[in-house]
Point group: C3
């Protein structure tokens, strides 16, 4: 069982920068600009497109597909399903961000349909969202993890990530104060990040875009997911150092700055990545 | 007749920070990211959702609903009407931002339908928009108040705010160089702000989100509306001090910074709030 | 044959600032906030509206219409066609940004329909997009110009711009390392800009909004297109000087700062504008 090393992650980052993978997003209109900018900052190339009639054409030129249900509607849900199936047929990795799963029947049904009809490479969400996917009682309140769902701590998170990974045959990433990434056999934890990240919108969505960029450059999806999550965490730390005292607006800008400056050296020095 | 004091406003701000009210937005795609970030910066928690099939579920977990018709379409108008009715049934305050009312028949009819079918807690707009709501001849040109509509000055604004407040049994907030907030009996003016605020997009929308956050933490909607408007004005001033000389991009970022740093002390020192 | 001078461009900029032309956008949800902010920063007034039922009302109060197909869907395509026809009937200039033309049948067909049904004043795109419009073999990959399409260099770009301008009887602007603007008889090149501009999203879209603002203040569309493209290039240079070393987030903010500070003096000092 090969381990995920910082070297392998740094190697994927180099390949993102060299190959500029085109990452197709069907995503929400709240954080879509941040997702595009973070994809460019890490070295990828974003394309956002959601009309069902161009899903086949767009998917056919992309290296990864990110599906984010943050502001889903009936039209875009059908586009997500179609794009996901086209991506599967072409062996293009699909990253699912089930924003707010647990908070409404529409989100729950959409998450279920996507998981039934589309093979997912990486699912990334907060604890409440992934608990919903695990079929556990979740108390999703809005788009942030609920306090109730955080009570089990890391041990419960690791167990939940493994269950979901094994059932869906995918990599699961639960992001929070401690990030947990698992393919069901190997599980990693990441301790990077800043509490300020929950005080701006889009850090979860941006993390999924980074995972998408890494998955577009490597078929080792565990390492790719870890790379995306680690990059986001380190960027959050660096941004907090530089701009945390100035306020939320400066902090948000500094995250994009940090992602664009990220390299193997910074990753090596900053990473608090461990096998669980 | 109880007066609105800076202490009562500072108290509501503290409650926003402590209780993190979930504020549901059905809003335009131009400034939606700013609305989400300003809601987080003041201490609330934003959720944006607009598919009619999840309106009941989402409204049921929220503390306030902000309806903003900036980029309305036939689909989202029906969602706004449904969400508004669900909010009324649950006694959740509804904040209406009638962006561009007066500029097109679609906006006029939508505003009329919303006011007929939904009980509004606070309506916030510029002079042209609120004049349209008042049934006065309005010369709305786009999404900014027209010069013609500003000619009557503060006296006309106060009269208009009162008429709308009494007719709709709501709080009316007209924002501009001088902000006017009235419940029909009590009327407040706020002299905070900066002329730079009209040189970036979204200050009106963000103000409505702040009003939504305050209304999610207090059922004194006059004080809550004043709190949201005052916070926006003071943030504009602080941002102009820090970043006004650098340009519009820096100014915009500094507004979010200022909102995230706001507290009772800053409110007390800066506020230019008066009873009219 | 009158030449386009820096004086004429500076004059149009002054008129934008004085007259605040209202610029109607039907545009994508990725960069729409940047488009609104850059329109305000140059001195115009943006309005974004896309429901077909208000196209006639909104177009009737505007000075220019920007159509951007970046995240087109079947509903908004019909709105673009309707708005374009209303604008033509009122002699309001239409700016077309055919984002990703060549990348999907839907984008290709939409571009074709828009060009058939709407008289365009200025078409602005990257080399791949304009090559598609020229009927040349294009290898559009996503929303960025492909390396293959850049191989012909400036000479091929000039030829392509002329062909499109003459066929569509419009001004064509191809933006890239060297910008090329032609009405078929007169052709200009602009050497301003920064390679960092392709590392953030929205510089193309913002450029189209600037062209729209200039076209809203002058019926010399060649000079107006040159003015918009030149402003974007100079803002990119200035932003790279100020913030290029900090990262992509700071660079993006500094572009809006630079546009808001732009004046005739800066244009004169910085412009590298030549007749081809």
């Amino acid at each position: 069982m090969e381990s995920v090393t910082l070297q392998s992650i740094a190697q994927i980052l180099q390949e993102v920068r060299a190959n500029k993978p085109l990452v197709h997003h069907i995503t929400n209109y709240v954080t879509v600009n941040d997702c595009a900018n973070v994809t460019l900052a890490i070295g990828g190339s974003p394309i956002m497109a959601d009309d069902i009639d161009e899903m086949e054409d767009i998917v056919s030129i992309t290296s990864a597909l990110v599906l984010n249900i943050g502001t889903l509607n009936h039209r875009t849900v059908e586009s997500m399903l179609a794009a996901g199936r086209f991506a599967n047929a072409r062996h293009i990795p699909v990253i699912l961000d089930p924003v707010g799963a647990g908070a409404s029947t529409l989100r729950n049904e959409t998450t279920r349909r996507l998981l039934e009809q589309v093979k997912i490479a990486v699912i990334r969400g907060n604890m409440s969202e992934i608990m919903f996917v695990a079929g556990l009682q979740s108390s999703t309140l809005g788009v942030d993890a609920s306090d109730a769902d955080m009570k089990g701590g890391i041990a419960k998170g690791i167990e939940t990530a493994k269950v979901v990974a094994l059932r869906l045959k995918c990599v699961t990433a639960i992001t929070g104060a401690t990030d947990i990434i698992s393919d069901g056999r190997r599980t990693l934890t990441i301790e990077n990040g800043s509490s300020l990240m929950s005080r701006i919108t889009g850090t979860g969505c941006m993390c999924s875009s980074l995972v998408g960029s890494f998955c577009g450059a490597s078929d080792d999806y565990l390492a790719a997911a870890a790379g995306g999550v680690l990059s986001m965490g380190i960027a959050g730390e660096l941004a907090a150092d530089v701009a945390g005292g100035k306020g939320n607006g400066s902090f948000r800008m500094a995250i994009i700055d940090a992602i664009s400056q990220l390299d193997g050296d910074i990753l090596s020095k900053r990473a608090r990545l461990h096998e669980a």
